[in-house]
């Protein structure tokens, strides 16, 4: 029997039931978004007692399927006011799946200020007072060490860092990875939701758990092999991401003129070589020590886009050092020293704050005169101050939208109050349509995958022209919503998009695990259904098509080198979500 767990923080009691029938066929984002739409009052305050936060492994998590260790976290977002699904690696998803936990929900709110640790193990749920030493500003690295000593090094951990404890709108939920470092359910402030329920940490102990049941093991293994080969044969997985990480995109987006620079006032810089993926590879290789060019964020990852970035003495600084963070602090904030960017990335992991939201907020704060342009040392101080937040640290942790308002700026790159990531919509128009219309607020990962024949959608795309972009943005969001429900990392997309056998193998694995017979049309329909749940929630929360817009300045401020503005009409934008 798969379990559905509810933990009520008002009464400090939990219930474990069979999975409600309507959720039985869902996993990951499909489950979290369906549940939030069903049970969370869309007009509730995100930090009040009526919000609920749900954690759900994907459909394939816990199996031997490569790259299937992702987990979805869902709630109403304190950053955007919309529904939110935030996705993470780490160890927790696979452990929960092996324990037969389809999902667990945290609801209610304690009457006092006591923070708690929730422990999930094979015997059920335990709720106990959080150790005092991990509260009140203790960094996540130290908190994971302390919790590891108390509960065992083998356990999975999800944490509200100091930013979450203080309920700051950009707070993330940090997840321990297999090496004891951090992965994040980064976007949308779900760490603040966890903090609002006085939950400091969730400890997951899989001791005694069995294997995930597979209805047809032979068919599953056969499909899994085909799938793994499709991933490994593809140059993106085999070369690009494994050697250069996602930071490989710095040089590429810069060359395309779509790398937002100095708070979105240009599309290209001349100091990109300071912190490109190629420079990262060379630096890690040269420094040696703890450095690793390639590293997986969860067991079974065969793409290995993460890395360990060391200091000049070879000592570990940070991992999962992503393009969007490096872009936001580098190109967009003009911090030109790679090591300084790495230390800020580590500090953001340590306080538990979304590195994209924070990096964009920093650039807006620089434009607003709160921080000198390019002053990485000051940014590092401010991020560290988020552990026991000063007023300025709270403002930056409020997100880019808050900073723009505080500074009286019109050039604030947000959609639904979530910061626009590292791809300028004026120069890459299809991405702009996704930023505008995704139910999540501006989110590059909302439009990452297409199911089916990519050439029907993508063969004639010109990044500066409108032709085909509406169909592109629609298909990408539908495909992504489906893949987010499987527990698969979005980077499997390359193997399945360019190799029809790989895509079929993904469906075959789901069918073999559950003894069902999904077709690619069914998977497409799942993606559409997820988006409908999310749009319905947002509509009932008060959002309309008028919120599906990019910031106005992009309509009249052209960026070099292509000298382009955002020129989709409201009517054209609204076509994206018609399906």
């Amino acid at each position: 029997m798969q379990k559905f767990i509810r933990i009520d923080m008002t009464t400090l009691k939990s219930t474990i039931t069979e999975v409600p029938a309507k959720y039985a066929g869902l996993g990951g984002r499909a489950l979290t978004s369906c549940f939030v739409n069903d049970e969370v009052n869309p007009t509730c305050h995100p930090l009040g007692k009526n919000n609920k936060i749900i954690f759900a492994p994907g459909l394939l998590s816990g199996t031997s399927a490569p790259n299937s260790g992702r987990m979805s976290v869902g709630a109403k977002s304190p950053l955007t006011g919309t529904i939110k699904e935030s996705n993470t690696g780490g160890s927790a998803s696979q452990m929960l799946a092996k324990m037969g936990i389809k999902a667990f929900v945290i609801e209610g709110k304690p009457a006092d200020d006591q923070f708690y640790v929730i422990k999930l193990d094979i015997n059920g749920v335990t709720i106990e007072a959080a150790p005092a030493e991990i509260l009140g500003g203790c960094g996540n690295y130290e908190a994971i060490r302390i919790l590891g000593e108390k509960y065992g090094a083998h356990v999975g951990i999800a944490l509200a860092g100091p930013a979450g404890e203080y309920r700051m709108p950009a707070a993330n939920i940090s997840f321990k990875d297999p090496d004891g470092n951090m992965r994040s359910a980064g976007r949308g402030g779900l760490g603040a939701v966890l903090g609002s329920k006085n939950v400091k940490a969730i400890v997951i102990d899989e001791t005694g758990a069995g294997k995930v049941p597979i209805a047809d093991p032979e068919a599953f293994m056969a499909a899994s092999k085909v799938f793994a080969k499709a991933l490994l044969d593809h140059p993106v997985a085999g070369k690009g991401l494994a050697l250069y990480g996602t930071d490989v995109l710095i040089n590429i987006l810069n060359e395309a003129g779509g790398l937002p620079a100095k708070n979105f006032t240009a599309g290209r810089i001349d100091f990109n070589d300071n912190f490109s993926g190629e420079t990262m590879n060379a630096t890690i290789t040269e420094r040696g020590g703890d450095g690793k060019v390639s590293h997986g964020c969860h067991k079974g990852c065969i793409i290995r886009c993460s890395q360990w970035y060391p200091d000049k003495q070879g000592k570990y600084i940070t991992s999962g050092f992503e393009y969007e963070t490096i872009w936001g602090l580098g190109a967009n904030s003009e911090i030109k020293d790679f090591d300084t960017i790495a230390y800020i990335d580590r500090a953001m992991d340590d306080v538990g704050i979304d590195s994209i939201e924070t990096a964009v907020a920093v650039a807006v704060a620089m434009e607003g005169g709160l921080i000198p342009w390019g002053d990485g040392d000051r940014v590092l101080e401010i991020v560290k101050e988020m552990a026991t937040p000063t007023p300025l640290a709270r403002i930056i942790a409020g997100g880019a939208g808050v900073v723009g308002k505080v500074c009286g700026l019109y050039r604030t790159p947000v959609v639904k109050d979530q910061a626009i990531p590292a791809y300028d919509p004026r120069a890459i128009k299809g991405i702009g349509l996704t930023y505008a219309t995704t139910p999540m607020g501006a989110d590059h990962t909302a439009g990452y995958c297409i199911s089916g024949n990519i050439l029907k959608i993508g063969a004639d795309i010109d990044p500066l022209k409108k032709d085909g972009q509406i169909e592109y943005a629609r298909a990408m969001q539908i495909g992504t919503a489906a893949v987010d429900s499987t527990g698969m990392c979005l980077f499997v997309y390359f193997g399945v998009a360019d190799n029809p056998a790989g895509y079929q193998a993904l469906i075959d694995m789901i069918n073999a695990q559950y003894g069902i017979n999904l077709s690619s049309d069914d998977v497409d329909e799942l993606g559409k259904t997820v988006l409908r749940f999310e749009r319905d929630f947002n509509k009932r929360a008060g959002f309309t098509n008028a919120h599906d817009r990019l910031p106005e300045f992009m309509e009249y401020e052209a960026i070099e080198p292509h000298n382009v503005v955002w020129d989709f009409s409201p009517e054209e934008i609204d076509e994206v979500m018609k399906f």
Partner: protein, 109 residues
């Protein structure tokens, strides 16, 4: 035509970054040309393996390998391995559909 206008500004990404920096000691490289030259011809001139090129950038636009370059252009060689939906959004999928070394599974496998 003055000297600057005769120059091609050349970059290489992924493994070609290290390759060109090692060979020429810097990035970007400036190469004087007298007239139009295709991306393929340029790659041969620089000793770049054809399998190491998925697409080229020319003045900020993705083009296929045989696109004609002119003096004064800024160009870059991009090997297979660029991740993300940007492959579609930047126009990779309309380029090089018939080339053995493009993003698709290699023809000899």
């Amino acid at each position: 035509m003055d000297d600057a206008k005769k120059m091609l500004e050349i970059r290489g990404f992924l493994q070609l970054d290290a390759f060109l920096k090692k060979k020429y000691g810097k990035m970007p490289i400036f190469l004087e040309i007298d007239g139009p030259i295709s991306g393929l011809e340029l790659s041969e001139k620089l000793g770049i393996n054809r399998d190491d090129i998925e697409v080229i950038f020319v003045n900020g636009f993705v083009q296929q390998i045989d696109y004609i370059l002119n003096p004064g252009d800024r160009m870059a060689f991009l090997p297979p391995g660029c991740p993300g939906p940007y492959r579609i959004a930047l126009g990779f999928y309309g380029k090089n559909q018939d080339n053995a070394a493009n993003f698709k599974i290699k023809k000899d496998e």
